[in-house]
Symmetry: C2
Subunit: 334 residues, 2 copies
DNA sequence: GTGAAAGCGCTAACAC
DNA sequence: GTGTTAGCGCTTTCAC
């Protein structure tokens, strides 16, 4: 830690600390000669202002927090990438918190952050439980932007994608490719994100005159081994000819299960997954995906947070919807 | 921000701020009755201590910084995952900075962090240039742990993998699979990480009596389009029968280039890449990888940083080497 | 066992 | 154009 502070600069230059402070912030009152001297000395001594002192004094931290389920998930790491880029442009610092889909952890993080440590929060909630009091408290206390994984019934600014439409379109694509028994791998069902994806599936079935079969609906868990078992079970017992996976994490287990059961994709079964995997085109077979604009979601979310800081042009309950894109590949080929 | 502070608690309870502060930190001098009253009120008012005030007073931040080239890279996001888990156990906060392989950015971040904002830094350096003065300055000023991408000639604690051995073993594997013209995709060449990987390649060739052919050595750039062109060029003009890619980012371009040139992997050419891609087993064909223990690198690095904070059992210039594992798959099948 | 008071480093009102 | 001073919220020495 550089232990050189304003006081020392002031002594050295025979100025008051106030003048030095003003010179450093380029205050108009200070003569350019004084500014020059101060800046020169500061530079030569590698002076860096103590952030905690100014944070304390200014009641702002120039820091934002990002709360996500997992950083080691391509969607979230891309979103963080987008967030970080915007933050850097504004000279803001980015704190990262992982909930590992655990509601308790999310609650603890969120409430701890209301101590002034950050000026705002970007959160993609775990949705593991329906407990959302902490989110309400948080957004009443500091600016919060929700992204991707949101609760519709919580007031606040939200950046989401067109989950319903994407899901609907995916099912439509499967049907057009000849699928008659389309399974759905359900996740995020406590969140409106998950709800909309499910509704897209259900409505598309209905619109095509296909009755809903509850045996084709598999609810995923937080345990990846169990998910694999559930999927294998689905394939073995219910023999769907199409699968729509509502989250990326379930795509690989589908592939592995098909291999294990000697099912050929796409001949025996066609697969689509919500996914940001950049290896989708290189898989065997290449995977048809609904790809969310993850980076843009992050940068949009961060951008709007800064707008809130600047108190300009945003609706207090604005929801911004970005479009995902359905990329058709071999896994749904006819 | 919760605007309830020690002063208000003190007023409410007819105590001094000093007593309240001591009660909150469970100081032995305070009667248990007083502690009970303080804790109760604090709890009921959702009191959270202002971190900047205590940071300023205590001259510590309970925060660490992680500087990486990219968060949206599976190796780094896994490492961050490991770091975050350890940090959380110690109730530390984690700041994330991305350099995008840009040396200027790395320098700016590093030097800014020496203002007391963080108690320590974990860094995987970009190595884009040979400029490393900032790293020396940083580690002289606060605890720094280098991980994966390191300079051997900078003093400090380092967590790395067995780069030389991994590379050597990979080439050996290619040779045993029948390769005679093995290309090497060079990256990180300013870093000892990159140097060791290259040396493993060179030595393995030599030990097998294969002369080094400089046309088979391709130096990657920061521009992915250019890298793709370089690889395609290599394949078209020099017709290697094996490739060792020293970074994950070049594996996909190899696959695409082979497709473009109608080269069959592994019949015409065999491929190994340093990689943490979890889709490696599902690629077409599945990819033989040297997989680094990314999560463990992160958690080890964070663990040793906390040991430094605790001033116990570490060597000031300790280098800890974790083992990568060569996972043989179809891309190098005979 | 508790309180008074100083001070961490910075900024901003209020002087002049 | 510059200086004096108070205070952000917390911790800790010193006093009693």
């Amino acid at each position: 830690m550089s232990n050189i502070n304003i006081k020392k600069l002031a002594q050295e230059l025979n100025l008051s600390t106030a003048t030095v402070s003003r010179a450093l912030t380029d205050n108009y009152q200070i003569s350019s000669e004084t500014k020059r001297r101060v800046l020169e000395l500061a530079k030569s001594l590698n002076y860096e202002p103590n952030p905690f002192a100014s944070n304390l004094r200014n009641q702002k931290s120039k820091t934002i927090a990002v709360i996500v389920p997992e950083v080691a998930n391509h969607f979230f790491s891309l979103a963080i990438n987008g967030i970080e880029e915007i933050a850097r442009k504004r000279d803001y610092h980015v704190l990262i918190y992982q909930t590992h889909e655990n509601s308790e952890t999310e609650i603890a993080f969120t409430l701890k952050l209301l101590s002034g440590r950050v000026d705002g929060i970007l959160i993609s909630t775990s949705g593991e439980t329906n407990n959302k009091q902490h989110l309400i408290e948080a957004s009443q206390s500091i600016p919060v932007v929700f992204f991707d994984r949101v609760y519709e019934d919580i007031e606040g600014v939200k950046i989401i994608t067109d989950d319903y439409e994407s899901s609907y379109q995916a099912v439509q694509h499967l049907i057009e490719a000849g699928c008659k028994k389309i399974a759905y791998l359900l996740a995020l069902h406590n969140l409106s994100t998950g709800e909309k994806r499910l509704n897209g599936y259900l409505t598309a079935l209905k619109d095509n005159g296909i009755p809903f079969n509850k045996n084709l609906l598999v609810t995923s868990t937080v345990d990846s081994n169990q998910n694999y078992a559930l999927i294998k079970n689905l394939l073995a017992n219910n023999k769907p000819d199409g699968i729509l996976s509502s989250i990326e994490e379930l795509a690989f287990p589908c592939y592995y299960a098909c291999r294990e059961l000697n099912l050929n994709i796409p001949r025996d079964i066609k697969i689509i997954s919500f996914s940001n995997l950049d290896c989708a085109p290189l898989l065997n077979p290449s995977l048809t995906t609904i790809t969310q604009p993850a980076f843009e979601i992050g940068s949009e979310a961060a951008g709007i947070l800064f707008k809130i800081f600047d108190k300009k042009c945003f609706e207090p309950n604005e929801t911004r919807v970005l479009k995902s894109v359905l990329i058709k590949r071999e896994s749904t080929a006819v």
